[in-house]
Amino acid sequence: MTEFLLPAIQHVFEPLNLLLMIGGLVGGIIIGALPGLTATMGVALMVPVTFAMNPISGLIMLGAIYAGAIYGGSNSACLIRTPGTPSSVATTFDGFPMCQQGRADEALYASLLASAFGGVIGTFFLLFMSAPLARFALKFGGPEFFWLCIFGLSTIAVMSRDNMLKGLLSGAFGLLVSTIGIDPNAGYPRFTFGYYPLSQGIEIIPAMIGLFSFSQVLNLLGSDKQYIAEYNPRKGAFMAVVRKFLHDCKVNLLRSSVIGTVVGLLPGAGGEIASIIAYNETKRWDKEPQRFGTGVHEGLAASESANNAVIGGALIPMLTLGIPGSAVAAVILGALLAHGIQPGFKVFTATGELAYSFIVSQFVVNILMVPVGYLLAKVMAKILNIRLTLVAIGIVTLSVIGSYAIRNSMLDVWVVLGFGLIAYFGGLVGLDTGAMALGIILGPMIEENLGKCFHLSKAEGSLWSVFFSSPISIILIVFTALSVATPYILEMKRKRCANQSDSEGGSHA
């Protein structure tokens, strides 16, 4: 490895490559911030451009777009409660409340720093632990994926503690909606309600745009506000966030980044699942979980560090085994193959200079993200100075074009309107939009892996042994049980402590 590192560092610091990294980051952040334009789309669009470059420069630029787009999604998530990419859904939970409190600059800086941190940790694992982690990822089969998704769903227990039943039912509604379209097991359309285009299924991104964006338009216009939020940029806000992270969020950032890396390793499980699991874990272990969702740095730190750490994780099986951990990694894999580079363990020896240049560039990209993102955040925050009515109708147009762009289908535009209305009126009667989103995201994976388990059980002769025999499955089941039970145990403990201190206070009096 060491023989390749020095030349790799030299390649990365070539002026052209530094310029490509900055350009890739700016482009990626803008793409990520626009609802409907995903990291996959941004990277895929730039792959043909890399054919005119040498492979190292091309890969470095694609990596920068990937990292920039995943971070960019947090900008619109914080400012207008519209996740630019699906992996920013959990960022809206605390980012937007922070923005409403006039702390948009803090929200943007917290997202930026957490993203950069998560990216660096993910790349660290990519550089030093690729081989063992790739072998671990190979142990994930249908049952393990199924339990991982159930673990992700257990977030609802933490999310909707005020009204658990409505939260669970909202999640079940999301899961049921995700079954619309081609049946993953039988391969024929179902739940189309006589409307043929529905056989395409409900695409996740338009559903998220509807749930978070169009419903927000209705919320904003239904209020008596003139602006989305006051924007009072304060001197020293950036350093205040740095200090907050150094004092209170070290463990949170590290834990969330590790979660992001591990989830990123698993094909099909992307940033949206990682950020939700990391958010859930951070909230669960916090001394005051009730403050989450009201605009706290910890929520942003968890979500954003996890989704950017996914990048490093997703690249591990792509580089070492040729199995992409995410859709973007699949596009980068295509670019590698187009340049005549065969992924696999040999990529680190036969084409070591290229592999290590790419990995080292990811470190530099994540560090460069801080100044580039800082400058862009200042520009993007200006959106808050535009009159609310104009922002709201602008969001409608962006939602329409963003959802259409996913697969050139007007069905997706109707999905935005439909889910926007469901989220708005559902919100009025106490339904949980986050739980619905979680159901829609996890539904296809749960059903697909449930089907695999049923098929496996026919071969093994027992459904029980399929679900409960692997050590990873058992660990995930224990984690799920803990995830559901811990908030209640901690709550009971807190109440008991409060009662004790009350009675002690009474006896002293």
Binding site: T179, F193, L221, I401, A405, M410, V429
Partner: protein, 150 residues
């Protein structure tokens, strides 16, 4: 909103969804049926529980303060968005978007509906749609919905 009312409405909503999916999926067989059926049963039972809880609460719940919602604006943007989406495939994305943004910017403007307001609304609608044209169609070459006009 009163908790009893919201429970009854959401419970009924879940019951309707469960019934609709059960009806649409009654021909499904084998593994394809397992996952949706489990969810339909859960939604149905949960919906019933919410309805009963709402009825139980209605007897003892006191009236609560009404939250301000500008329903006229909510209905306006919903209706306008539906018409906008209906017209896009017929007229074309860019023309429809300019008209949609301009008309709504004029109607929703609290003040300045005069000539200055009109110029501002026109600049906003033209500017945003121009930006979308530049980014989506020219730079990223992402197709936009086409119709009879541009």
């Amino acid at each position: 909103m009163r908790r009893s009312f919201s429970d009854i409405v959401s419970g009924l909503g879940f019951l309707i969804v469960a019934a609709a999916f059960w009806f649409a999926g009654r021909d499904l067989t084998g593994i394809s049926r397992v996952f949706p059926t489990g969810l339909e049963v859960f939604l149905g039972l949960g919906g019933l529980a919410l309805v009963f809880n709402g009825i139980r609460l209605a007897r003892k719940e006191a009236a609560c303060e009404k939250e301000f919602i500008a329903w006229n604006r909510v209905v306006l943007i919903t209706a306008a968005s539906v018409i906008y989406v209906l017209l896009i495939p017929l007229v074309g994305f860019y023309v429809t978007s300019v008209v949609f943004l301009f008309v709504l910017a004029m109607i929703l403007a609290e003040k300045g509906k005069g000539r200055k307001g009109m110029v501002q609304a026109l600049a906003f609608s033209g500017g945003l749609v121009g930006l979308i044209w530049l980014v989506f169609l020219q730079i990223l070459q992402v197709p936009t919905p086409s119709g009879a006009l541009f």
